[in-house]
Subunit: 455 residues, 3 copies
């Protein structure tokens, strides 16, 4: 029953009371007042429908633009001889995600039975037959969910850069966006077993999106091995510098912008006072966590490294953002600041740790998306009493086992069947020559960009 | 009569019935229910007004940002010695479009009589005297239309780059945005003869915006001739590489983002369930066509060229987007995928074709905007039964004859009167030196960027 | 009392009248009609609440993105050896502004008593206890105000580039965003003495934001002195070229986009016809002033300098935008065009003037933000009869004295206590080496970028 109808019936009732006994007019007025009071924080369903749909579309647009953010971040952090290849990878992976989420991904996520493990393999088509009851347009929701899937694929792209061949990466992307991501997302967002049995809570996807991308990236890094020259023969670790820190910075600003959509849109509704207030609080917390992520890295670098590593500071912003993504709504501002700050600390600690483990993560995506993703997820019960630490741990573990295992198996299969790594010669010359056939920055003579042993 | 009034009168009527005969209460309730049911999918006119206006403003903002997208795409695809000039061209052409659409353009488009050929030459001023009846704010509509005109001018800029002098280009832009575009747009969007007599259908402007830009660009390319060194003495075709593929990629991501506004905003309303659903479907189709445009080029390159040409893949996205622009609403998703895919194919086929015809289109704007624009327009009747193939052909033909002829005459007049092309010496040194007096990337020594014969 | 309640009470009254005397039905109908007529241009308070909150959030998002615009503009206008440092500065200053506005800034601005001089030093926390009466969510307003403060800090960053050390700059930023900006903003936007006693009018902050940034930047430039090599021993002025004009251009396009949010969002409401119309008119005027700013510089350069200085044309856009910021609503379009055009003229005249005064403003922020800011503010009474030239002059003067004095004292204190300037050797090698420890563009061999005497 729609709200307007409700008000009118109440008014009718009140008026009839009033008609029956003129002396009871004040009582009637009170009755109306109570009804109106209750209704006045909820716009009519048709209006709410438009608000909700707008939320998905506008926030989805800025999340879509995160694909450009990842592309600039990665193009800026690889050597110029691989920059065109990373650009092609990033625009194509978004295209592949679009098609795969349409063909099978969406129905795997949302076609799952309550408490179930996987949805249906049907192709998605917009169904607005009960639009007003649903509360938003089917296509707007599809669009919003699709850009999330693309985000997970973008994360993988950076870690495996400078050595992975294009087509094996595209095939991996198709399976990740069509099957791996959707299956594990269905467990929670589709109402599957994690949601039904464990009360797992992951508001906008610290685990479901970011750790998923992170595990897939880690599996890829392990299957591929490090770039040539990254690690010297005697345990020496070399720094390989990115070709354009300004482009990398632009990328992070775009991601920061996009994250308002990512977290804000995940409220999934804007058609009431409560929803509008929630989205606003999410904006404030999201922004605050990113800020303290940056500041933490800047302060730690100042005291412990004397110089301030720009790419680490940029990852500090991402780390803060990923950390607040599992629960951007319930934290007080100081809690959001704390959660983001720990995210920045994780970047500072985990980045060199991975280097020492000889895992070559070109853009630092694993500390930012995997480790901060797990941190953000496990800390949810600190601010949200509906979640439990055990439930969160189960969710993190299930995601880890499923995504890492399937990804590793897939990378290894691809390695055995088609090969995933460029030849040593191709890698030395740069993948732009072998994969694209054109340099990214042909006008500027490239210095050899000498390898530098890490401090 | 507004909706709320309607509801209240109905409620009053129902209440009076109820007052007259208590036994008829159920009938009264039913009457109210029927009224409410009818009204519940249309927010009140004042609410709809705000929604509609927001649509124009927010979608107009991202379309405005497409100017940055074209600028980055073009700055990345010219040699670094011409990159500052292209930047100045792109920001100035947007400024010129702003002024010309205000001075005369807007009233030429919308001041036309039904079935007519041209509007009035008056200066535009916002008129909100009947705002609620109009359904949106006059200024929001003006803003949305203006950024469309700027888009057409941006298209021309890329094709004629690296050899056209600044001021002749600015004069061309002023006439294009003040007269040529508005006159042909009035035939359809102003309710002129194409709309009235032929039922021509071009939802967001595959023909009216993109083919217009494409024809003006083609005329310019013909009037200017190819860049020095592009074609060798023995029919040899040389590849001239763009200076920054990462910036070009960023440009395409910005354009992709802007296209949600371009096509989504062209629904022209958001104040009802139907409109919100329509905008959502447009988002999905627009995104899908871009994706299949990219994938098609990537696949064709892989099989037919072995290496994947990044700039062609980028143009594949644009080709898909232009193709779906004439009708982003009626196609089913698979139809949008197909339409975009053919757009990608057109990029792959037409780009080398133009090269063989010795037409020098620096950024590939003619395949993307002109050829895909015509493709998208002619295929409208495939999904929209309100359009006919004959009506579409008439529209494409009228646009072609009018825009190409007037543009060519204008370019030739400019060539005769003021000269449109930089001297051979200026062209060799780069236009940044002669036009701007400063290099775009002064810190990086420029390699000669050797010309390479095409494969 | 909410609107719906009002309507229902009126309806009830009308119905009772009707019940009392059937003959009076027409009178009752008229009563309802009058009530509805009044209400039909104002959506219900709950709907208006969502609209207002959306305005803050969406417009705030694009204003937040202006941080990326400033970053790209500045990274493009410094030499490549300082580009990583400027990127770190810009992302960190935004983070600092976030934290400081939360800790003390916001309550200083809005906790001020009517006619007062400073608010309270309390930490801000969202209070939505009377949300419906406030008309928007507290957090959405905080977010919108916070990004304005960050903008002022971004302005300073560009002027003092290439020589200021990171930490002194960060400390200055913390005081600017936590105290200096908030105190002077409270005088007007918090309802303090400037607003209460002088009717000072500064719609979106030509003075309160842009001149504030400009004065702080000027104080910094004076305290720091010019870059090494900028001025020769015999009064010679050298041109120091920026490393990437395409990135600088991208930055200005992003700022232009962000300004729609900056000025449009400053309407502070979208929940009525009048507000929606106002925001639309602001969009048109803002865009027009930027356009005429660009065109004016292009025309002046053509006639007076023969070549068209791209960085000056870019600043022409910013100059036009700053000029219209004090009053983007009341001007007719031609007045907005005029105001923006004068802004462009100011850029053309003041930029070389400052050079001759041996004030080294790396990105030209002082002409654009300070001089155009004052111009935009003083001209408000030309189009807005609620403002007076005297009131405007008092506001400009108070802002100037307070911000310039406190900034200068702060810069000098920092100079005395910690030192604000990099050593000569560090400056010659570039701050990226001393502050960041990594070059911004390591792959491209850097030409010495020779100093060139100004024409």
């Amino acid at each position: 029953m729609t709200k307007i109808k409700y008000i009118l019936f109440a008014a009718m009732g009140a008026v009839m009371l009033a008609g029956g006994a003129a002396a009871q007019e004040p009582a009637a007025a009170e009755a109306v007042e109570a009804v109106v009071e209750a209704a006045s924080t909820t716009p009519a369903p048709d209006t709410a429908f438009v608000f909700n749909t707008m939320l998905f579309l506008i926030m989805g647009m800025v999340v879509m633009f995160m694909a450009a953010g990842f592309c600039m971040l990665e193009a800026g952090l690889v050597r110029s001889k691989n920059a065109a290849t990373i650009c092609l990878k990033n625009i194509t992976l978004y295209a592949i995600a679009t098609v795969m989420v349409w063909l099978i991904g969406y129905n795997i996520i949302y076609g799952v039975e309550e408490g179930g493990y996987i949805g249906t393999l049907a192709m998605w088509a917009a169904d607005d037959s009960a639009a007003l009851e649903t509360g938003y347009s089917a296509s707007s929701d599809w669009f919003f969910q699709m850009v999330f899937v693309a985000t997970a694929a973008s994360i993988v792209s950076g870690t495996v850069a400078e050595r992975v061949r294009l087509w094996p990466f595209f095939i991996f992307t198709a399976v990740l966006t069509g099957l791996i991501y959707p299956i594990q997302a269905s467990w929670e967002w589709g109402g599957g077993w994690l949601d039904a049995n464990y009360g797992f809570s992951d508001f906008a996807g610290s685990t479901l999106v970011h750790a998923t991308g992170g595990w897939a990236a880690l599996a890829g890094a392990l299957a591929l091995g490090p770039r040539r020259g990254k690690y010297g023969p005697n345990g020496q670790i070399n720094t390989i510098r990115g070709s354009s820190l300004p482009l990398a910075t632009l990328g992070v600003f775009i991601l920061w912008l996009g994250w308002f959509g990512f977290n804000g849109g995940s409220q999934l509704a804007l058609g009431s006072l409560d929803d509008a207030i929630a989205v606003s609080n999410i904006f404030v917390n999201t922004n605050m966590a990113a800020a303290t992520g940056v500041i933490t890295v800047v302060v730690l670098c100042t005291f412990l490294k004397r110089k301030i590593d720009l790419s680490m500071a940029l990852n500090g912003a991402i780390g803060g953002l990923v950390s607040i993504t599992a629960e951007p709504l319930t934290p007080a501002i100081w809690q959001a600041a704390l959660i983001g700050s720990v995210g920045g600390g994780i970047i500072f600690v985990v980045t060199p740790l991975l280097e020492n483990l000889r895992i070559d993560d070109v853009v630092g995506a694993i500390p930012a998306h995997l480790f901060c993703g797990m941190w953000g997820t496990i800390i949810v019960p600190f601010t949200n009493s509906d979640a439990t630490y055990i439930g969160q741990a189960v969710g993190i573990g299930a995601n880890a086992i499923f995504v890492f295992t399937t990804s590793l198996v897939l990378w290894i299969l691809l390695k055995m069947i088609v090969g995933i790594r460029a030849s040593a010669d191709e890698e030395d010359k740069g993948l732009d020559e072998s994969e694209i056939g054109a340099p990214a920055w042909p006008d500027f003579s490239e210095k050899p960009n000498p390898l530098q042993p890490a401090e």
